[in-house]
Amino acid sequence: MSMLKVEDLCIKVHDRKTTDTLVQDVDFEMNKGDIMGIVGESGSGKTMTALAIAGLLSRHDMEKSGHIIFEGINLLDIKRNVLRKIQGNEISMVFQEPLNSLNPLKKVGWQVEESLRIHTSMDKNEMRDRAIEALRDVELQNPEAVYESYPHELSGGMRQRAMIAAAMIIQPKLLICDEPTTALDVTIQAQIVELLKRINRERQTAILFISHDLSLVNTLCERVIVMQHGLVKESGLCDDIFNNPQDEYTKKLIAAIPKSPFGI
């Protein structure tokens, strides 16, 4: 049995009169240790899919149908308090904008520890040790200082590393990254991708990587889903799709990748 199985996922938003379909008939499976990418332009439904899996779409005007089966449980029809035991514990998330995603008034260490505080009964010192270890693990220099600092005192790359440390501190089975590198500059982007690769290799954490950047997905992921207008256009191994795209939209996306003058 696969770890995560998404079947016929549909997400609709009801306005007063009209109904918008944001995601339609999305199907895919992930196993332990998989790295999968979802690629698409803005409005393609990729973030909605990710949020639905993380259990973060709870708006009253939204209607979700289909199945999101994680470890044998359908996340779409369990109670909120059961879902909360999975959130941050077995499924963690890293977001696009690390500055906005961190609470500006809380110390970074407090935020990194949060999942431990919610899901375990560790005491303060244990949590602090674990948090510093997690910060060191995401290759932050001087983790003790980072632990004591506020988000605005860190650089963008450091903040995103701290976010990853917070997401990884409790060793989730699935890490969802929603455009985690989009707000960062290119060199930092590459470092974060390397970090995610290493986490996946060492911990066997499955990673669902959402991005609009096809080449970035190609460097990180084994498999990819291409989405447009809420529909899956194409899915399969990265290598196949890159070298032999079948769908018109995928072809356009690949053609849009800027060619490096050095021929990489």
Partner: protein
Amino acid sequence: MKYVIKKLLTTLITLFAVSALVFFSFSVIPGNPAVSRLGTEATPEKIEKLTHEMGLDRPLPERYGEWVLNILHGDFGKSYSYNQKVTSLLSEKIGTTLILSVIAIILTVAVAFPLGIYTARKSDSKLDVVLTSLNQLIMAIPSFFSGILITLLFGFVFKLFTPGAYVSYKVNFLRCVGYLFFPALAIALPKISMVVKLLKDTALKEANKDYVVTAYSRGNATRAVFYKHVLKNAMIPVITFLGMTFADIIAGSIIVEQVFSVPGLGRILLTSISGRDYPMVQAIILLLSVFVVISNLAVDFMYRAFDKRIRV
């Protein structure tokens, strides 16, 4: 530490500026204290003699310097109309106004915060709709008018206090507080409704921010998200507003004192202005501005303790 020193220094400079403003503005408004003391029928010679005795014919800067120096020694001069020391005339009235303001401030904070939190947490519930409309109404009623209503309702209908029967805090502190509770309520009501509205609005705005989604993604329950993440962020604009409100309460208590016949700074300020009693007026205004400046200083410190990003 450097921040604290800098802040205290600017406070001192502000107070000096205020003292100069208070002093010189009263020398430009029309009216001669000697005339108001002797009456309009006094002969010019008599007026000139009294003006000289009061030292009012000396140059302004000299009088200002003397005034400031005396204040630094704790001497605010003598009242023209009562012929007593200003400090002894004012000491009890300052206490009264301060007690009134403090009760109003405590009331504002103690009622507005739970209510604001409640309406933010239960926004769109039926009770919230009722509270919000009621809030809108209370915000629109000025303190002196709600003061009259409170006198009528609590004083004459429910007989919870006897209007006009103020007891000095020197005689019976508890009864004094019991009386001042009602004028304080009149002062606090519009402030409470403003703080409730502000707290609710900022909390709802904060609830849409990205860090809230992060908090949920870690498995926080709605309650924990609100109290551990949203509330502190929503408090920042509220603290700013409270700072202004405290100043407003202190200065605004003057009018409500009239409604409830509380012998605070308000009444003596009005009679002193009409009597051209400069030493009294200057002392009262200076004191009020000291209260305002100090409350602002306190808010600035509080602000910084809350949000490390802020350097006021």
